[in-house]
Symmetry: none
Subunit: 413 residues, 2 copies
């Protein structure tokens, strides 16, 4: 099955927003064995929209559109798809009532233009939108399938996953299975070199290495007649990879280092608190992204000022004065002080320089210290992230905090 | 001047990487008055590549390609562009020597396939690549301009900015100017309805409303012979919009609510601390995204457990017991307690339910309370974010924290 992803939206052509819908759909479609041939984007313009549809219709048997289903005048996707497929648009009373109810619930006035979202091509399947007012729809005609989804990712994603993906998966004559292995303490080119005997001349399964920020990963994929066949091929290859670089693998199901660490803490009921300076709360935010983590996460303290470091964590004025806020000593006292305050099994601390200013020759921008206090025993590591933006450096610091906790937990067992 | 941006690369169709080149080029082109009509992406495939070129050639007088200029077998962009324009490929000896020198400098061996990068269409301008080995090139033929740039953003961006943009800017006969207005406490459809008299029949300036999460924005754009003319037209329209919905505008330069609030705090030297439960540090993280914010941001305390709320902020056991952790009372005591601990001018607190579990009929998932203590005076507001994911609810809570601070500051003046 060959697919064109057609994104409709002037704001994408303006460069105002990034086309994450195409990324999400490409990944999802690939997983069920659909070949994505084209990404296309055009504005809310009838002529160009129909030209794009015509091109997609020519080359592909599946067209997925996102965007242009909203209530306003410049939302034209539905109208043009209907015209392209020679379909009349008709009002759906159930959907109209749903829109009325939605506005009643949120207490906002429902203006007339909202009813536009209850009009659909005569022969289509309406795709419910539990996250917003604009439903999607699916047309199957002339050997082509077209699914039209709303633009906001928060609405588009569940609609695709729940209503479109299962239908398409049932129609594909081959299934893809893959595993993503994640690595620490090894670079992409070195990983590829070590795995070269497995990669060279290999067509199925395929092995592809990726450099993700601060670590690298390996995707092993197979496309076979059945999922079971593909799975067996991939699992055999994972075994071979493990024999070569097993000690660097920290995850075999695509879980990131934060997820691995948090699941480990949850399963062993090990409590956690954090004290952050450079990352300013990003570690605690990442921890609490996970639902149910309150079971083990007690608190996070963002001691951005020196005063806060002293008052909240008992870092000594002398240490700050003598070694500076960004030092092994300060990181150590932060973790230790956090343990005194909270008694959490794992107390992690971080202090560093995210830039762009504040770096020195000795401690350049990108330097940070991570302290891990496990049941009262503190260890501190110095890290350095080269030539990155402030955001990159903070991302790196959070990742290294999880990595340092991971290593402490790993070495326990 | 009408443009198609054609991105070549299988890894984009796989969803492995995000097409940031299209975003960058769209923004840059827009600023010099080029209309971006299409984004297209296809793989390194001769047939599909030429089909895309043909479509772009039909509709646009400018085509910019990125990707597929490298040394390996699957880099086919140059070859197909040459074929499409009926150009012979010839070896450029200067570029060949440059590649030899480059490898000599890095100490890596220069394999034969690298010379592929020194071959160019007979009639073209070569675009130097100071950041890598693959130069770009520009063809001007049959009333069309085509610029072919390398895929890696770090190489593409300076090449475009230095060698392509100035040429194009000189050829454009109009300049675009726009302003993005951001709104609170008004929905997109209601905003459009109120502005309909200004929007209807308007061709320049154009007014486009956008729904961004939890708020909406309006883009007013004009394209005129000179930047000054466009600017005057846009400013006049801003005036008219302000007359209708001025009280809902919080930003006229595209700044988001967090940026507006933080700049306000910095400029007035108003100190800030935060106490978070539901958002788990995301507010503090957002604050510290801004470089230099240590001037006013003292600390953030993530009191995820009840114990932490009592120990860190002095929330009373009775309040937690009687009203619950997610209540107006708890939010109020959190903000008040934070003020006692820190003495910061603005102490903001938040407590709520991000879900997916933990909701009750009275306090469903998506409910949160924001407390703002300004110089000791506390006010608490209840908010509710309907039917969203955990991540969305937390994003919303952070946004409402900034919004509530904004309103307190606004009402001071």
């Amino acid at each position: 099955m060959k697919c064109t992803i057609l994104t409709v939206g002037t704001e994408i052509l303006f460069g105002s927003i990034v086309n994450t819908n195409a990324v999400f759909l490409s990944q999802e479609l690939q997983n069920i064995g659909v070949d994505v041939m084209y990404h296309m984007t055009c504005g809310d313009n009838p002529k160009r929209l129909k030209e794009m549809l015509a091109h997609a219709y020519e080359d592909c048997d599946l067209i997925i559109t996102t965007g242009g289903l909203g209530p306003t005048q410049d939302d034209l996707t539905k109208e043009n798809i209907a015209e392209f497929f020679g379909e009349k648009l008709v009002m759906n009373e159930v959907e109209k009532q749903r829109i009325i109810d939605w506005f009643a619930q949120t207490g906002r006035p429902c203006t007339e233009n909202n009813y536009k979202q209850a009009v659909f091509p005569e022969h289509c399947t309406i795709l419910p939108n539990p996250m917003g007012t604009a439903p999607g729809f699916m047309i199957s005609k002339e050997g082509r399938i077209l699914a039209s989804l709303p633009g906001p990712p928060v609405e588009m994603r569940p609609m695709f996953t729940q209503y479109v993906k299962p239908v398409l998966a049932g129609m594909c004559d081959s299934r893809l299975y893959y595993k993503s292995l994640r690595f620490i303490d090894i670079g992409e080119s070195y990983l590829e070199t070590k795995l070269l005997p497995l990669i060279d001349g290999q067509t199925d399964p395929t092995l592809a290495t990726y450099a993700t920020p601060f670590e690298c990963s390996l995707r092993i994929a197979s496309k076979r007649a059945t999922l079971e066949q593909a799975q067996r091929v991939v699992d055999d290859m994972v075994e071979k990879v493990r024999a070569i670089v097993g000690e660097n693998i920290y995850s075999e199901d695509g879980s990131t280092i934060d997820q691995v660490v948090l699941k480990l803490l949850l399963s062993r009921k090990i409590s956690l608190s954090s004290a952050e300076s450079i990352t300013g709360g990003q570690f605690a935010k990442t921890v609490t992204d996970m639902a149910g983590i309150s079971e083990i996460f007690d608190r996070g303290i963002v001691t951005y000022s020196n005063r806060a470091k002293m008052e909240e964590l008992g870092v000594s004025a002398e240490t700050l004065d003598r070694y500076g806020a960004v030092s092994e000593q300060t990181a150590g006292e932060m973790a230790e002080g956090l343990y005194r305050v909270t008694g959490s099994d794992v107390c992690v601390s971080v202090t560093g320089i995210a830039g762009p200013d504040g770096g020195t020759e000795e401690t350049p921008v990108g330097t940070f210290f991570v302290g891990v206090c496990y049941k009262g025993k503190v260890s501190v590591k110095k890290h350095f992230v080269n030539r990155r933006t402030r955001a990159n450096i903070r991302d790196g610091a959070v990742q290294f905090m999880f990595r340092d906790i991971y290593k402490v937990l790993r070495d326990l067992t």
